[in-house]
Subunit: 351 residues, 2 copies
């Protein structure tokens, strides 16, 4: 169980992660926490690198590639910060846990990229693009399997939390598939997808960490609420950036949800707000199975005319507020304040 932490983070992405996650206001004295958390994340990375080693070099390489392009490490950051907010002076006990949740998330991104025919992720070719479909599928499986090996360090209740979160994740994908190219699904459908695909896994990660810390059930419950709400805020913002973001900052092209026909919140709000003729036009274009650049740009234009950006941004903020309120069970202190910033940061991030 004991790990030999590496002396430094494998790359400078911690700074990127922080600048993405805490918003634009100055950090003040909270900046003192960053070296501690950077070290925590480096330790978690190290644990991951050790478990990803296969006897067969191609697989190790593919798994490492998936981890380098998959996910921003928001989940391990939230888990480490929450664990420290509970008063822990070391996060060694949750290295494997944070690693497991990061792997589950990465595995799901790899399989999502297969399903969505994604070209790029974080500025590099997506897994299926870089390694082909067969290797992308089995590398995703490999990451799931290694995640459960990490989870095997913990009591059955924690393993079951991981399992249920994965089942939610899969369920979210199935529900999403059923709603493709269909704007009549409505917001209930959208939130069912988002809660399962993003909320459940962050909730389970934080609830598990809190349980491992030996906290009371009400704190475990509050941690789950924080995780679920931050996850949903993150996803709403993600869906917004897919239309209104800066593709150079994000490292992937815009409009993937338009192309794949995902009725995300910006599209649903646009559809609900447009008048008759433009509403029909929006729906007709949205339903096209193959969209050309001019269709995508027109969809963007209509979303802009409907004022979707501001409305959807406000909803991401609503979930961030909910996350912040759930923190009242924690003792006041710098880590709790940082968790507030992290929640609000998800609803404001530019990439």
């Amino acid at each position: 169980m004991s790990s030999t932490p590496r002396s430094e983070s494998p790359d400078n992405s911690f700074e990127v992660l922080v600048s993405q996650s805490v918003g634009t206001e100055p950090l003040g004295s909270l900046a003192d926490l960053l070296p501690v958390l950077a070290r925590d994340l480096a330790d978690i990375d190290w644990r991951l690198q050790r478990i990803l080693g296969a006897r067969y070099a191609t697989l190790t390489e593919a798994a490492s590639y998936a981890c380098s392009t998959g996910g921003k490490r928001v989940r391990p950051l939230l888990i480490a910060a929450y664990f420290r907010a509970l008063g822990a002076s070391s996060v060694e006990k949750i290295h494997a846990l944070a690693g497991a949740f990061q792997l589950i998330h990465t595995a799901s991104l790899v399989h999502d990229d297969v399903i969505d025919h994604a070209e790029a992720r974080r500025g590099r070719p997506s897994m299926p693009r870089a390694y082909g479909l067969p290797l992308a599928i089995v590398t995703g499986d490999y990451l799931f399997v290694r995640a459960f090996e990490l989870a095997a360090e913990y009591p059955p209740s924690i393993i079951l939390r991981c399992g249920e979160a994965c089942a939610d994740l899969v369920e979210g994908e199935v529900i999403q598939e059923e709603g493709r190219f269909d704007l009549s699904t409505g917001k209930d459908h959208y939130f069912r997808v988002v809660e399962r695909k993003t909320g459940a896994i962050v909730a389970a990660g934080l609830a598990s960490a809190t349980e491992i810390a030996g906290a009371d059930p009400e704190v475990v419950e509050a941690a789950a609420t924080y995780g679920r709400s931050v996850g949903i805020a993150f996803q709403i913002r993600d869906d917004l950036l897919d239309i209104f973001g800066d593709p150079d900052l994000m490292g992937k092209p815009l409009y993937s949800d338009f192309r794949e026909g995902n009725p995300t919140l910006p599209s649903l709000e646009t559809y609900a707000r447009l008048d008759g003729r433009r509403q029909t036009e929006f729906e007709r274009l949205f339903q096209l199975r193959r969209k050309h650049a001019r269709h995508l740009l027109r969809l963007h234009e209509l979303a802009e005319e409907a004022g979707a950006e501001a409305i959807v941004a406000e909803q991401a903020r609503w979930w961030a507020d909910k996350a912040v309120r759930s923190l009242s069970v924690l003792p006041p202190g710098p880590y709790r304040t940082l968790l507030e910033r992290l929640a609000r940061g998800q609803a404001e991030r530019r990439y």
Copy 2:
């Protein structure tokens, strides 16, 4: 942990399984064991059906479909028979284990069918054919996840055995991918693939059951040898039947390995045994990325001329013999005799 066994097997496939698995010689007094094992398998099925239930009906349905077409349940049968051969009067302790290994196997078949563009399995459309690629991918993930939830009932050492077997399985798939359309890979490559894709998972299932029974380490090791050898015998026979079997009996078309360019043992033996001109022809046809019916039939003809069927059948028998020898650590008795029959049956089966 306790289950309410159903009063009967969900279908008559136990009889099919037995007739496939024990060869053509009469069973004699061993037939008395069959009702006991049929009940064990029905209990394991029942445990599986309970864990596969998702909140979302489409997913439950897709998972059930995968289980109904995926795998012949040889693995749970071997696990139950081995556990009883160790002297257990009830197999309740390994219901979840046998279920987990059956799910892992099924998950891997689903993802294999995506990768290999398989049309059919056990006489019904394959998962990707029946449900589409996205649902096939996530249903495979779902089956892996539920397998680990079942494994969570056991100590970490068992969970790690499951995990390592899955990692082997994935590694086998990666090695297989790298050898496609290449007959120069040779038998070492073939056995590396087969040991990982089929041997490791059966070995891990039996070793786990033996460990749960509290057996000595040498018995655990012997159980792993039995499982690995039976698995390899099974796979060699499978690869033989893909060329020389009866497609109506098997419920799937012939020549999938020719089509996908898998250099299996029958192709390697054919290639090694043909003379110059016919060897070149075999290689040229084998390497075609798209093969027409006449190419497939000519490959079959050349394999027949090379006498590959008898040579490969003999190698399957060699592995069955190895499995039988490993049973000497068990107390003599009807279950041990049945395990011998089950090993030899894998090397003789017609479908």
